[in-house]
């Protein structure tokens, strides 16, 4: 019973953060939301008892992808219509 | 039985501190006050959660467990040290970046701008 509650909470968080990535017009906010998504995905892998996949997700999702996204966002210009978000 | 009481008290203190930190994030008006509440209270809460884990591991080991419990406790201590250091340095970096990005604190004395004008 308790396992189902924990897994349900993680899945709700995954859906919410994925919706935020889709909703935000600002690229930096979307990158931060993607960081939250990869954290929660790694927790889900841990619950499903796959620690090696979780450690790969931590290395790639938390460290590498955020850094590469930020290096890419640095080369763009800010959208004037995205100031509301 | 005594060890269980210690574990429950440590976990309760840790969860209470984490809850207060989240309330600070949701309620405070400014970036700097939010950062203050978040960093201090979540670090305090994680320290007490890890103390609860270490108390559980020690009680299991003293009750006749094998050496795997000691390894678990030592790794928890290492993770706790890494967490405490990285939280403090990350909070400093975030507040410095927010000041560089042009967000001024509300309603307090801003000594740094006075120093930088000279």
């Amino acid at each position: 019973m308790m396992d189902l509650i924990i897994q349900g909470l993680i899945l709700i968080g995954l859906l919410l953060s994925a919706g935020m990535i889709w909703y935000f017009r600002d690229l930096l906010s979307a990158a931060i939301s993607f960081g939250v998504f990869s954290f929660l995905l790694s927790l889900e892998f841990l619950i499903l008892q796959a620690p090696d996949v979780a450690i790969a997700e931590a290395a790639i999702g938390a460290g590498l992808t955020t850094a590469i996204f930020i290096l890419a966002i640095r080369a763009t210009e800010k959208d004037p219509e995205a100031d509301a978000e | 039985m005594d060890a269980e009481i210690i574990i429950f008290i440590c976990i309760a203190i840790g969860l209470l501190a984490c809850t207060l930190g989240v309330a600070g994030i949701l309620r405070f008006p400014d970036v700097y006050t939010r950062l203050h509440a978040e960093t201090k209270l979540t670090t305090f809460g994680s320290i007490f959660l890890c103390l609860g884990i270490i108390a559980y591991v020690l009680s299991q080991y003293l009750a006749g467990g094998d050496a795997q419990y000691i390894v678990l406790g030592l790794h928890t201590l290492l993770a706790l040290i890494a967490l405490a250091f990285t939280n403090a340095i990350g909070a400093h970096a975030i507040s410095r970046a927010a000041y560089r990005a042009g967000i001024k604190p509300e309603g307090v004395v801003d000594r740094l701008s006075e120093v930088e004008q000279k």
């Binding site: 924990i6 909470l9 979780a54 | 949701l26 890890c50 967490l83 970046a97 990005a101």
Partner: protein, 85 residues
Amino acid sequence: MIDPWQTALSVLFILILLVMIRLFKGPTAPDRVVALDAINTFTVCAILIFGVAFQETVYVDVAIVYAVLSFVGTLYLAKLVGRDI
């Protein structure tokens, strides 16, 4: 007799869902970085509690890797927000 670890996990995930409100609302980018930092800390605590609840030492190693790598991500985000790179 309730299990303390699963109760602590449920409370931590509810706290993660509450911090995501600030991630959604936050008016500026540093607010979202603060929310990401809080979610980092809660995730590392949750992985440590998973390791004790399942009696696995490998999960605690995942937590150590996670704490260090999320720090790298936070520093990259702070560098971009502060216009240092």
